[in-house]
């Protein structure tokens, strides 16, 4: 079972990507191949293994509630193509 055009369009919409019809075809077949690889993992017997969300052997990494200096605002804004009065400016987003 592969991924069809509609699923690619849905994923592209969630990721806010605009795809051409040709790209949709390409990604549909590529994503299907990737899924196939993962399907082979499902054949492994994991019956005795507890569900794992993290493989790094770290636990309980916490910090004290202390304030440290933030970045200078000009640095914060340095990657923004548009800014105004200390704000980052985007096209209007009103829903």
């Amino acid at each position: 079972m592969g991924i069809d055009r509609r699923q690619v369009e849905h994923i592209a919409e969630l990721a806010k990507l605009e795809l051409t019809p040709e790209e949709i075809e390409i990604f549909a077949s590529q994503l299907s191949v990737i899924l196939e690889h993962f399907r082979s993992l499902q054949e492994v017997d994991t019956g005795g293994i507890p569900p794992t969300a993290q493989v790094i052997p770290l636990r309980n990494v916490l910090r004290q509630d202390e304030v440290v200096p933030s970045l200078p605002t000009e640095d914060v804004l340095s990657n923004a193509p548009h800014k105004e009065k200390g704000y980052i400016k985007t096209p209007p987003l009103r829903e």
């Binding site: 770290l58 636990r59 309980n60 440290v68 970045l71 914060v76 980052i88 400016k89 985007t90 096209p91």
Partner: protein
């Protein structure tokens, strides 16, 4: 013709926690007065290569909320994990919000509400911790983004669909806010957005066990909005159902000015957020002893305090309710009672008569009012009135003007005359023997204090006030009590 429908409501509350720093970085969380984008760092801006680290205080405060709501806390060997909630919107610099999906910190609690003399239990499904998003300012031809709020710790409290009317929803929110404020973990300020609410609501034929299609309502920024928006939505859904129509599952917004709910968007499905475990944050395994310790230090919550006020001071349930609504008021009441323990009821009435109006009509804080009208003055006014030395209207006038800070030189003279026979005991020399006596007579509360139960201080203050017939300065009493108790802790004896 009108069919009978049952209303089914679930609430989702987001509350900002009162930490100094943000959830996953050391930027200050005090964003309200800060210039835009001045409290931002690579972590809360989601720059590549930055790593979030959990704020211990935020975790502790979430555990406090869970415990106060009677939830189970996920402790070792159960894991707490973090998840990424993915969506694209410019209020999220990372393209995802760090939240908790299937293993929240606390789950399975309840809140009791009283409505029309009837007690109702609203089950709490879960309490989890996440991060707040940036603030967007919508201008005419642009949107401006301020990332200062991005990363401020936010808890989410979700109920089961147990609420059966808009009035119950309002009562639930009031109770939740009250508990958060008593715990001291959130300001609960709805106008400033520190507490934000969403409701989901559906109707079903009375007696039916199946749930109807629900709509979600956002932008509920006041108690009134919660009640009004839900009442509006009940009628909107009822009309559709009675006309034989179907409810669309969708998200509505509450338009306060027009008093209507308006369509925001059709429901996006849960899997659209593509939650997955946050790889940058290791799981938490909470130590049982730590959770027990947090539990033993929980402050007295409104229900317990109300019962104590009724028992200890002989207040009516109504008066106890009024005086425990806000934690600051309850605290002030006990300070005032300590200055005049002979008649707690009169003290409560005097607070309602002379202080509540000032709180309501001005921006002045209770702390400020307490400075202007300290306990010994209020106690003196009540004493003078009860002994027939001043009339009720004079007492009203004196208390009201003191509370407003309008006491002129002439009035101070009048006050002095009134309190000529109302001598304060204000020196440590005269108070220490009394305090020592009270501590010696009450070994059990002393032991409780040494175990970390700070709330017994109020009991001791009350006892000292009784011994001194209310003529001791409560602040001094408190200071001396703490000093004496700490002496005992250091190995001194209580003899």
């Amino acid at each position: 013709m009108a069919k009978d429908y049952e209303i089914v409501i679930g609430m989702e509350a987001h509350a900002q926690l009162l930490t100094k720093s943000k959830m996953f970085c050391g930027c200050s969380a005090a964003y309200a007065q800060a210039p835009p984008n001045s409290l931002v760092c690579p972590i809360c801006l989601g720059l590549p290569g930055s790593l979030p680290v959990v704020n211990q205080k935020a975790l502790q405060q979430t555990i406090m909320v869970g415990l106060a709501l009677g939830c189970k806390i996920r402790i070792d060997p159960q894991q707490i994990k973090w998840d990424r909630k993915n969506y694209h919107y410019p209020d999220l610099p990372k393209g995802y919000q760090i939240s908790q999906y299937d293993l929240p910190i606390a789950y399975g609690g309840e809140i009791k509400i009283a409505l029309g003399g009837e007690e109702r239990r609203i089950r709490i499904r879960r309490v989890h911790l996440e991060e707040d998003t940036a603030k967007l300012l919508h201008a005419d031809r642009a949107t401006l983004i301020d990332f200062n709020r991005s990363g401020v710790p936010l808890i989410e409290v979700v109920t089961e669909p147990d609420i059966r009317s808009p009035q119950e929803a309002k009562a639930y929110v009031e109770k939740l806010r009250q508990i958060l404020r008593y715990l001291g973990v959130s300001s609960g300020n709805m106008e400033e957005g520190s507490l934000r609410l969403e409701a989901n609501i559906s109707l079903r034929p009375a007696g039916s066990a199946e749930l109807g299609t629900r709509t979600e309502i956002k932008n509920l920024n006041s108690f009134r909005a919660v009640e009004k928006a839900l009442a509006y939505e009940v009628e909107r859904q009822r009309k559709i159902l009675e006309a034989g129509g179907k409810i669309q599952q969708q998200t509505m917004g509450w338009d306060e000015a027009k008093g209507v709910t308006v369509l925001q968007r059709t429901k996006e499905y849960a899997q659209d957020y593509r939650y997955f475990p946050e790889p940058d944050l290791p799981p938490l395994l909470l130590n049982k002893e730590w959770v027990e310790e947090i539990k033993s230090h929980l402050p007295e919550l409104p229900e317990a305090l109300k019962r104590r006020f009724i028992k200890e001071y002989g207040l009516t349930a109504y008066d106890a309710e009024i005086l425990t609504q806000e934690p600051e008021v309850a605290e002030a009441f006990e300070e005032y009672v300590a200055a005049y323990p002979q008649n707690p009821k009169a003290v409560g009435d005097r607070i309602a008569r002379s202080i509540f109006p000032v709180l309501k009509e001005s921006e002045d804080s209770l702390a400020e009012i307490k400075r202007r009208l300290p306990p010994w003055v209020l106690g003196g006014i009540i004493a003078a009135k009860e002994q027939g030395k001043v009339t009720t209207s004079t007492a009203d006038e004196l208390a009201a003007r003191s509370a407003r800070g309008e006491i002129a030189a002439a009035d101070v003279k009048a006050l002095e005359a009134v309190f000529a026979q109302y001598q304060r005991i204000g020196t440590s020399d005269s108070l220490l023997p009394v305090i020592e006596k009270v501590l010696a007579e009450n070994p059990k509360p002393v032991a409780d204090y040494l175990k970390g139960k700070d709330t017994v201080l109020r009991f001791f203050i009350g006892q000292v006030a009784k011994e001194t017939k209310g003529q001791a300065d409560p602040n001094l009493v408190k200071e001396l009590l703490v000093r004496k108790l700490e002496d005992i802790r250091q190995g001194g004896t209580n003899q």
